[in-house]
Symmetry: C2
Subunit: 335 residues, 2 copies
DNA sequence: GTGAAAGCGCTAACAT
DNA sequence: ATGTTAGCGCTTTCAC
């Protein structure tokens, strides 16, 4: 391992100057800077992260907390964050925060407290009160993406507005009997996004003078399979089947499409379906959806945390979303 | 930040003893060990990673290289690795190694060389020769999961055997006109798994005395959409359509199922389909598949790298796989 | 603009 | 079994 002294010797300067030249902190003449860089280059020198961290207190490393690594949405956000951070020379330390309680505790009580990260990003994760306490006690910038907690600075889409938009799209096509596939109550206990989507849905209906009917709601677990089951229920129930379904995620919407097909309904001729997310499979299924650009959410979070690191506080920020009309929604045709 | 001296003072011992007691290296009497632990506990002391790393040369951190974070297979392997590593008090630094060449270079030339990781795991990633040179030059344990490179210690499933198993399943059901959806040549240029699957497929056919017909092969890109397109080709081509399809991934197999349905073929009555992976969607589609247990692959890699870290060399290891017969394959019925 | 020197918070000999 | 001490490889005052 070539160390800073060797670079200093080769460049004919002190280690202090090498440090300044390579880090960009403190002034160094252009000439020496060039010489130092050349020396570092020929020696293949790379600053030792532990030594630098110990001396400076900065790590150039961000901790990222992710709940369901295997779900498309989360890994997509993570990919966005990772790319953006790497672009700035930052590493990312990944903490998979699952239901495994002992592991989970260790993240908050030990792993995050080892002085290994400069800041943390929590990706759409429902945190306990004590966990948030611990994050706050870390005394470093913390940013949440899409979580429900008011104590954390949060980047989020306006889920009420998202749902309203999807529902208004359906209303605009003439639909009046619109069902909603949302979260089961347990699922939503600590994570409020699904409830907000339901609120937006009901707001839109009410604003259009359409009554909200409890039989037109069916809970599911945000998977294709869950959406499939829920849609079967909705479509199978006697007495006025829905002519449109708003699913709170694209994966559930895809499940609904398959359920409809299996029951012999044509999408969108007999049934319109709209989802939320911007899932990669959306194009294939020609799914109309409200895209929330998950990869960009991740990037945005990375930028925000970097800003927090060399400047002052960040405010909660509203993330963009957009209706993408494809082939699973159509005008209501008189039955 | 409470430091080791405070713990030493409170426990009435030297910092060296605290270090020994907390790390488990070197002997400490049970009594003092208990006192030190108590002191650390009441003070909420956690060892500073940079300081410890600088002094010891160990980081308790593993670098993980992942190519397509958004693909189910990769994020599942990663989740397995992450959980297992965390269980042992290790952090994981995630490097997303994509087609972005400048970023990619920075991983190998800078990020990995900062003394931040004790070892690296490369998850099913096609590495260039120079990249492998750089990994080897890192002078630390490196482990690959499922990659093609002979210079790296690799944990992998026997892809030839996997394909043979899938094909033999189909042959055993009486099928003789079996098609294969595999990788396009470009896709396989630097990553040989797809080719191995094709070899296994052809081996099985030949062993059963069935001629290999080029028209019964169709390349795709390992996505649902790709599998869909490929199956349409295979089934639409005039002259002896296949009665069974072996797809080199579950996602392609799912695409094939949908293509078959759309063309009016019943699965498995008219067409049997088998995939590879053990994808989470497999149950929903009742897909017969050869499961390769991705989550366990990740765990296994974590265990192997930990073993490498405190002992001697590891040998390449064969990973388990298993035929899971569900509902998309059936006996050939006379047409 | 540059150098000297004092740490950053630990661990690992080496003593005892 | 425990204490003393010398670093680990940087960054950052403080001088000049």
């Amino acid at each position: 391992m070539v160390s800073i002294d060797e670079v200093a010797r080769l460049a004919g300067v002190s280690t202090a100057t090498v440090s300044r030249a390579l880090s960009g902190r403190g002034r160094v003449s252009d000439a020496t800077k060039a010489r130092v860089e050349a020396a570092a280059d020929t020696l293949g020198y790379v600053v030792s992260a532990p030594a630098s961290s110990l001396a400076s207190g900065r790590t150039r490393n961000i901790g990222v907390l992710v709940p369901f690594l295997q779900r498309w949405f989360f890994s997509t956000v993570l990919a966005g964050t990772a790319a953006e951070l790497m672009r700035h020379g930052y590493d990312i330390t990944l903490y998979s925060v699952t239901e495994d309680l002992p592991l989970r505790r260790s993240v908050f009580e030990t792993l995050l407290r080892r002085q290994r990260v400069d800041a943390v990003i929590a990706v759409s994760i429902a945190l306990g009160d004590d966990e948030i306490d611990r994050l706050l006690a870390l005394d470093m910038p913390v940013l949440a993406i899409g979580g429900p907690d008011p104590r954390l600075t949060t980047l989020s889409v306006d889920d009420v507005a998202v749902a309203r938009l999807a529902t208004e799209h359906l209303l605009g096509l003439g639909h009046r009997t619109i069902a909603h596939i949302g979260a089961s109550p347990e699922f939503d206990l600590d994570f409020h996004i699904p409830t907000q989507r339901r609120q937006g849905f009901e707001q839109a209906l009410t604003a259009a003078g359409v009554a909200v009917r409890p039989t037109l709601f069916e809970p599911a677990d945000f998977t294709i399979e869950g959406g499939f089951r829920a849609a079967k229920q909705l479509l199978g129930r006697p007495g006025g089947r829905p002519t449109a379904i708003f699913a709170a995620s694209d994966e559930m919407a895809i499940g609904a499409i398959m359920a409809a097909r299996e029951l012999g309904y044509r999408v969108p001729a007999d049934l319109s379906i709209v989802g939320v997310d911007g899932h990669e499979l959306g194009g294939f299924f020609r799914l109309t959806t409200v895209d929330q650009f998950p990869a960009r959410q991740g990037e945005r979070a990375a930028q925000a945390i970097l800003a927090l690191l060399d400047a002052a506080g960040a405010q909660p920020e509203q993330l963009p979303f957009e209706l993408v009309v494809r082939g699973t929604t159509a005008r209501l045709t008189e039955v």
